[in-house]
């Protein structure tokens, strides 16, 4: 094993943090204490945590609407949770939610409400970084469904053409809402699309956090070298598209079978092989839970934005020319 037990425990902690954070969201939704459409990434933690660990300090990330497990491992958990509650102390003063969350300080580019638009935006951002001689890469996450959008084609072609430092990371969870991947496209692996632009592409097991991390590290190095590329991580969406989706379109048997491959169980087994004890693991889970509970307590109590803050034209215009509210 290339990784020490402690390193593996760190991965474990991150995966568990992702899982439990979303479980907490479910609880709060159940209590009617959260509003909004929550798209959970339960089951996809490895595919997200792996990426977050591969990013260097100068690198940027474009997440998706289903990226809470990744976000909670990258951002300040309180500020993140406040944003999910729509509170004014959230990352974007409660205006963004996971639909649009961003953080300049954390090099987190905005989630896009329009699937696909964020891809050429990320390419433009990455190009700008290169112009400014930043030693940075943008990792742009997209779903399997999103890959069908025209913007993805246009963005990838431009990235390849201009040798932009970007990695297109396709988090393939088998579904776009009710549409399984094989009703989205005829090809087996979306990384094949790389051939259409003269890039390289690779499809990996997205439930293997180490595989994801290492592949992304290589992909990032390549991109830094002026070779944008695609990595597709295959994983599986455990929940409905959003919380509340009854998922009638799903075949129960297949669904259950797919959920057998749990990235957290995998890491537990590995850790036990490496001599970790059940107690150690339980302690981690407890520690993480405290952190989460604390963040939710905090966020719940924070104030909502005031009408003045909501109607603040300086948040609409950077050069405000006396634009009229009404």
């Amino acid at each position: 094993m290339k990784y020490s037990k402690n390193e593996l425990l760190k991965f474990y902690e991150q995966l568990v943090l992702g899982r439990k954070y979303e479980e907490k969201i479910i609880t709060f939704l159940g209590k009617g204490k959260l509003q909004g459409f929550f798209h959970l990434g339960i089951g996809q933690e490895a595919a997200q945590v792996g990426v977050v660990n591969a990013l260097g300090p100068n690198d940027y990330l474009v997440p998706t609407h289903r990226f809470h497990p990744g976000l909670v491992n990258k951002l300040d958990i309180k500020k993140l949770t406040a944003e999910l509650f729509g509170k004014s102390s959230g990352y974007n003063r409660g205006k963004a939610f996971t639909f649009h969350i961003s953080s300049k300080e954390d090099r987190l580019l905005p989630v896009n409400g329009m699937l696909g638009a964020g891809i050429p935006e990320a390419v433009g951002y990455a190009w700008a970084l290169k112009q400014d001689n930043q030693d940075s890469v943008v990792v742009c996450v997209l779903g399997d469904g999103t890959a069908s959008e025209g913007n993805v084609h246009e963005g990838m072609n431009i990235a390849a053409l201009l040798n932009v430092p970007i990695v297109f990371y396709i988090e393939n969870n088998g579904w776009a809402i009710s549409c399984p991947t094989d009703e989205q496209t005829k090809i087996e692996n979306l990384s094949t699309r790389a051939l259409a632009y003269g890039m390289t592409g690779e499809t990996i097991d997205g439930n293997d956090v180490i595989k994801v991390k290492e592949t992304l590290e290589r992909a990032i190095a390549k991109a830094k070298n002026g070779e944008p590329n695609i990595v597709e991580a295959k994983t599986y969406r455990w929940r409905g598209h959003f919380e509340g989706d009854p998922g009638f379109y799903r075949d129960d048997e297949k669904h259950k079978a797919a959920m057998k491959d749990d990235c957290i169980k995998r890491m537990e087994n590995l850790l036990i092989e490496q001599g970790a004890s059940a107690k150690e693991l339980a302690e981690i889970a407890d520690k993480v839970q405290l952190l989460i509970d604390d963040a939710f307590d905090y966020a719940e109590k924070e104030p909502l934005p005031t009408p003045e803050d909501i109607l603040d034209l300086d948040q609409v215009y950077a050069t405000n020319l006396g634009g009229e509210l009404l």
């Binding site: 729509g86 205006k95 409400g113 025209g150 009638f248 909502l304 109607l311 609409v316």
Partner: protein, 325 residues
């Protein structure tokens, strides 16, 4: 009378038209097994099978243009946008392709396509999932735009839209889709370009469509107590626009307020205000007023309410017109 939700009314209109005409088919995201995000297509996949109701990849421009092509070939596509906001990707298809093919071909082709799209705020879904989109399309000749405010109108107008031989943008409102209302048994249609007088009154005319009809009604009820008699007109379609009914009302009241949910600046209120001032100016006793959302992108969550027109603002505006300072 029988009560249906708006969404059920949409469903029934589609079902009846699909029964009648095998050229009618439905495409969109999650229209098949899932029956659409708000149930507008529930059960249609089972009933009509995968050649009449099928999912498209997440590619709005592609499948809206697919609809345009199929329509030119004699089909009658219903193209669903899951949220109306996503129509920005199909802006060309909906405004610049479908509506122009007939004229560009010298009248030889036609595009009998219906684009259905649920729009509007109310879910706190932030700046890119809450918009009203009608104003974006008002400057494209060849397109018709329908915006019903209740299940009864939705069914009658959607059937007309599907039977229409031109592209029709049929906008549902997300907040209304679950709303119940009277829908008579049996077939009926409502012509495009026919306004409905939602409430008769003699003092002030409020022109409102879709979700805005309801705060207007509430305001009218309140104002009645104060002796102000409000007339509410729901044009139901913006293109064509029923100028006759507007004229009758303006001649009676001489005071007009146009209410829409989209941002005030650039909303359809401008068009209607201009039509009224152009054609019925001599009857006006007061400035034509518009109420729309604040000119800012909508925020996430409940605070979106700070941006939208509501009963209070409508009431104030009516009073201002009746008692000018």
């Amino acid at each position: 009378m029988r009560q249906l939700t708006f969404s059920q009314a949409v469903l029934e209109a589609q079902m009846e038209e699909m029964e009648k005409d095998q050229h009618v088919f439905i495409i969109g995201e999650d229209v098949a097994k899932m029956g659409s995000a708000f149930g507008q297509c529930a059960g249609l996949y089972d009933r009509f099978g995968p050649n009449r109701v099928f999912n498209m990849p997440v590619a709005e421009s592609g499948y809206a243009n697919f609809g345009v092509g199929a329509a030119m070939a004699g089909k009658r596509p219903i193209v669903e946008m899951q949220f109306a906001d996503f129509i920005v990707y199909a802006f060309d298809a909906v405004g610049n392709q479908g509506p122009k093919q007939r004229y560009m071909s010298g009248g030889e082709l036609s595009v009998p396509m219906t684009i259905r799209a649920p729009q509007g705020a109310g879910f706190g879904a932030a700046a890119q999932h809450s918009q009203c989109v009608e104003a974006w399309f008002m400057n494209f000749p060849g397109l018709k735009i329908v915006m019903p405010s209740n299940p009864h109108d939705a069914k009658g107008l959607l059937k007309t839209a599907i039977q229409d031989n031109d592209p029709v943008l049929f906008l549902e409102h997300k907040q209304l889709l679950g709303m119940k209302g009277d829908v008579p048994e049996g077939e009926y249609t409502i012509p495009l370009g026919q306004a409905s007088v939602v409430r008769e009154g003699k003092d002030v005319t409020i022109i409102a469509l879709q979700a805005m009809v309801y705060p207007a009604l509430e305001a009218a009820t309140e104002l009645a107590d104060e002796g102000i008699d409000v007339e509410i007109i729901d044009p139901r379609s913006l293109i064509p626009l029923d100028k006759k009914t507007l004229a009758q009302s303006v001649k009676k009241t001489g005071r007009v307020i146009i209410v829409h949910e989209a941002p005030k600046r650039g909303g359809f209120g401008g068009e209607i205000s201009a039509v009224i001032s152009e054609e019925f100016f001599p009857h006006l006793k007061a400035p034509i007023k518009r109420l729309g959302a604040a000119n800012i992108p909508l925020p996430f969550g409940m605070p979106e309410q700070y941006c939208l027109p509501n009963k209070v603002l409508i009431t104030e505006c009516v009073k201002e017109l009746m008692n000018p300072k």
